[in-house]
Every structure is written in structure tokens, then in C-alpha cells.
Symmetry: C2
Subunit: 313 residues, 2 copies
């Protein structure tokens, strides 16, 4: 996971991803009392940063591995990302999805060329089904966040942000499975100018916060958060990177998430998903530390179900 | 309303407005079977193009007029735009608003420094109240759409679009009071390369469509459309320009508006208001005429009440 690895990864995946725009807003800057730069991965292909890691992981396979395809289990953005990336690269992707996944998510996977196998909605069933595909077809399992090639790929969003804004004092990311924040921490470490990385996490799924305190990977006992992308937990590949390079995890309430999401929608006129609102809510909570400084925010994605929004609550 | 007037207007207002981004999307291009360029005035100050015309109209006043302030009647985007523009230019703005205007709209006007006078929710009461302010304070009345300086200002959005994309075969605009489409038609006429201008209008408020047929300004008998910005009607200053330079008005249903809005929100991850969705719905309806051509779409604004969205219908 060297500086050179990260740059090579970026060069490798560049033709297959968008270099997404970096937006700023005087309204936001006035509110935060800082210069805030939003790296807008909601405008990324498939609507989220996940395509970066998925693309890198597939491109690192041998021809023989590529021929046998890839498999993952995900009901979220990584399912769509791996399907799309595999299709772009002429590789077959099998996606293990819980049988109770929303129809809209299944449709998106099919639209991007993924082949769905349904399983019981338990973590054990997901893993067992994935294992059987690996055995049966010789397919390569690619984990959505706990995979070094995936982590490197996800770090390229922060890398692009730092190429354009080299003097950020901090970068804020959401923390779910830990792939994005670990990759961002590597990018900030190698390319930042004393740039610290902060994670935003819901109180309702605060495994990363507790893991950093206890020094071992903690599990979520509840995941009752609107930030559906952050209900997952850290893994043994990304946790050590997070321990070493992440400054702090900031926890936010469900109300803070919804208010942050409403603010960005209403004022910046862009659609961000709840997991990205977590990140901006964390910025608002810690804003006193960044007065008149430059900070970056990774807007992780914009995949929401517009028929089921939280604003009327 | 010469070419030189339009350029002078643009130079005049440039320091006070955003040159908004022009977005495109391969998903949209595939759907429409054309190259579609969205001029994103939802990212404009106050969330809509209206600030352009408001700024130009105020800047054209004499010092004496500026001292006495400006007045308009509007419950929509022009109320906010005139308030904001007046504040930027150190001029006092009085906004006549119907007493039943939503609180969120009144708050926005106050936030931008406008002074609200409420009146009965009838067109007559609006006009009478505005007249009395003109008499009493010597303030200058600025109409939201039927004013030559406003029309020129609104045309600068299309001008900026054509500066970046000089070979558009068509530009689509929404049609409400007629200021934006009249200004766009002038811009396309002076700066386009055989660029035709099309209007999008709801069936439920199709005064412009009927006016072009009858050759005189028709009124809306009903305005039962979700596109709240398009419930107004044409005026004697913009109608002749529209008659002369607009190719066609395309009418769309409420379902078509909502589906177009959902598509842009879900796929482009930007927030557009129903009036802008009318425009994209018109593009979808007429797409067979533009196969493999370049076309422009003016996204007029992004001001929506997120507590009251149409998607659950």
C-alpha cells in the first residue's frame, strides 16, 4: 500500500471512472466558517465511489481469473458497482443479494449486467452462498470494503481531491465497512500537506468509533440508522490503516443526518444519500476546529429512493 | 433589443451572477439519442435564473430611482431574486406577496433582505398594492417577466450556453410568464448557428401554446399544474418576441412532468424544480426530431419544498 501503488491504481482505473467535480458553496462556507470542498462522487458512474475499488480489484486479476468471473455479496452500492465495472471489463459478476433486498436495487444490478443469486437475509447465508459460487465456478470473491485492491481504488477519490486542493487541513469521509476511509487516509498521508482524516459515523452504527477506543474490531449491536450504507463493519485489512492514519471518528444522531441532508439538497441542489449527509453532519459538529481553514468532504454517493424520503418525519 | 444590448447586459450583470455549469450525462444522451447540454440555473444564486433579469433591471435604473427602491409582486422565484439582487446593489426591494404564500417562501424573501407587504390572494389586489407602493414611495415597479430589461437579463443564460456550445440545433426552455423564453429566443437568434428555440409548457397552463395559435395573448382558465413557476401568462413585451423567434411550444402532462423530474433526480443527482422537469419532458416528447444532434436545455431552477414532493403519488 505504497504511494506508488496508489498512483498506479489511479492511472489504471482512470479510463473507466469519472474524475468527479469538486463543488463549493458560499452558503456552506458561511455556515461552517471555513472553505469547504465537496468531492462529488454522487456524480460518479453508478452514483457512488464504489466503482473505483471494484474496477481496480477486477483489473488486478489474471486473465484466467477474469474468465471465471467475480462474486460479491452486497445489497447496496457495491453490488451495482461490481456489476458495472465487470461489464465494462468483459468479466462476469455474480451478486449474492438477500431475498428481501428492495426491487429497485435488484433492478439496478440487472441493468448493469450483474447476475443475481438470492439467499436468506443473514450474514451467514450470504457468506455460504458466496463460498459455494467460488468453489463451483472458480470465481474470485471481492469483498466490498475489506480488500486491499478495493481500498486503494476507493482512495483515488481523495487523491483527486488533493491534486486539486493540496492544502486541505482535513478530509471528512463516511465510515461504513471502512474501505473509503482507509483509502482516503492513505491518500491524505501520501499526498496531503499535514491533512488529517476524520470519519463520520451514525451513533446507531458506531462500530468504528468503538473499535478505535478498544483497539479491536467491534461489531454493531444495532444498525437502526437511515444511513443504509454505513450499517456494515470494519475488517482486518482496513482497520490497521484506520488505526494508524485516521485522526478521529465523529458520531452524529439521526436528526443531525436528516438535517444535514436537507441542507445540502435545499441549498446546493444536489442529491446526496444519507451516508454522505453523515459526513457533512460531522463537519457541522466539529466546525469550530476549522475556522477559516480549507477542508474536504467526500460526498460518497447519491443513490436514494425518492419514494421513501425522510423529510416528512 | 439588439445583439449589442444583450452583450452589454451580460457584461453588466456578470459580477453579480454565477456562470452556471453545463452538465451532460451519457444516460440522458442514450435515452434521448442526442447530445444534451443542461444549463444548470438550479445552481444559480437564489436557486433560479431569475436573478439575471432582476439584476439587470435594477442596474438600469438612475441613481434617483435606485434611492427610492423597487417593488414587484411575486410569490415565487422572482420575489427572492429581486430581494437578493437589490441587496447586492444596495437598493431597497418591496415584495407584494399573497397572504396565503407558503411560509418557506416568505422566509426566503426576508433572508435575502426583501421587505414583504401582504395582500389578498387575487391578481387585482396584487396589482393595486404594487401601484400604491409606486405612488407612495416613488419606487419603480419591476415585472417578473414582462419587462424588456428583465427579458434581456434572462437571455444571458442561453447566451452563456451558446458561448460554450455554439452548434446547438435547438434550445428548450420552460414557458411561464415568457421572460426566459423570449430572452433565450433573442440569444439564439443573435448567437446561435441556426438554433431553434422550443418551449415546454404544461397542458394544465397552456396559455402560450394557445396564444401562438390565436395570435393574441390568451389567459389560463385553469392552472392546476405541479409546475408552480409556469402558472403565469405572457405579456405584451415578450409575446411579440416569442411569436417571431420561437419555433414551437410542446405541451406535457402532469405525469410526464413528474416522471421527467424523477429521472433527472435519480440519474443526474441534481435537484430540479417541476418547471425545469417540464422542459426535459418536452425534450423526451420531441426527441425523434433531434437524433444525433446537439440540443440545449435550460434548467431554470431547483427550488422545491422537500417536505412536499410528488413522487409518492
Amino acid at each position: 500500500m505504497t504511494k506508488e501503488n496508489l498512483v498506479a491504481c489511479h492511472n489504471r482505473i482512470k479510463p473507466f471512472i469519472h474524475n468527479t467535480p469538486i463543488l463549493s458553496s458560499s452558503l456552506v462556507n458561511n455556515l461552517v466558517n471555513a472553505e469547504v470542498y465537496f468531492k462529488c462522487e454522487n456524480f460518479q458512474k453508478t452514483g457512488a465511489y464504489k466503482i473505483r475499488g471494484a474496477t481496480n480489484a477486477i483489473m488486478q486479476l489474471t486473465s484466467e481469473q477474469k474468465e471465471k468471473g467475480v462474486v460479491t455479496h452486497s445489497s447496496g452500492n457495491f453490488a451495482q458497482a461490481l456489476s458495472f465495472a465487470a461489464q465494462s471489463l468483459g468479466v462476469k459478476a455474480t451478486i449474492i443479494m438477500p431475498s428481501n433486498s428492495p426491487k429497485v436495487k435488484k433492478s439496478a444490478v440487472v441493468e448493469y449486467g450483474g447476475y443475481i443469486i438470492e439467499c436468506e437475509p443473514t450474514i451467514k447465508a450470504r457468506q455460504n452462498t458466496a463460498d459455494s459460487i467460488v468453489k463451483e465456478k472458480g470465481a474470485t470473491f471481492i469483498h466490498p470494503s475489506n480488500d486491499l485492491d478495493v481500498i486503494l481504488g476507493q482512495g483515488t477519490a481523495c487523491l483527486e481531491l488533493l491534486y486539486e486542493q493540496p492544502n486541505l487541513k482535513a478530509v471528512f469521509c463516511p465510515v461504513g465497512g471502512g474501505g473509503l476511509i482507509a483509502g482516503s487516509a492513505l491518500a491524505a498521508n501520501y499526498f496531503g500537506n499535514n491533512c488529517q482524516v476524520f470519519g463520520g459515523e451514525p451513533f446507531e452504527a458506531d462500530d468504528a468509533y468503538r473499535s478505535l477506543i478498544s483497539g479491536k474490531i467491534e461489531t454493531n449491536e444495532k444498525t437502526n440508522t437511515i444511513a443504509d450504507g454505513l450499517r456494515t463493519q470494519l475488517g482486518q485489512h482496513n482497520f490497521p490503516i484506520i488505526q494508524k492514519h485516521v485522526k478521529q471518528i465523529v458520531r452524529v444522531s439521526e436528526d443531525e443526518i436528516i438535517n444535514a441532508m436537507r441542507f445540502i439538497w435545499e441549498r446546493m441542489k444536489i442529491i446526496i444519500e444519507p451516508s454522505s449527509a453523515v459526513t457533512f453532519a460531522a463537519v457541522l459538529k466539529e466546525k469550530s476546529a476549522f475556522k477559516n481553514k480549507k477542508i474536504g468532504v467526500i460526498i460518497s454517493g447519491g443513490n436514494v429512493d425518492v419514494n421513501n424520503l425522510p423529510f416528512n418525519i
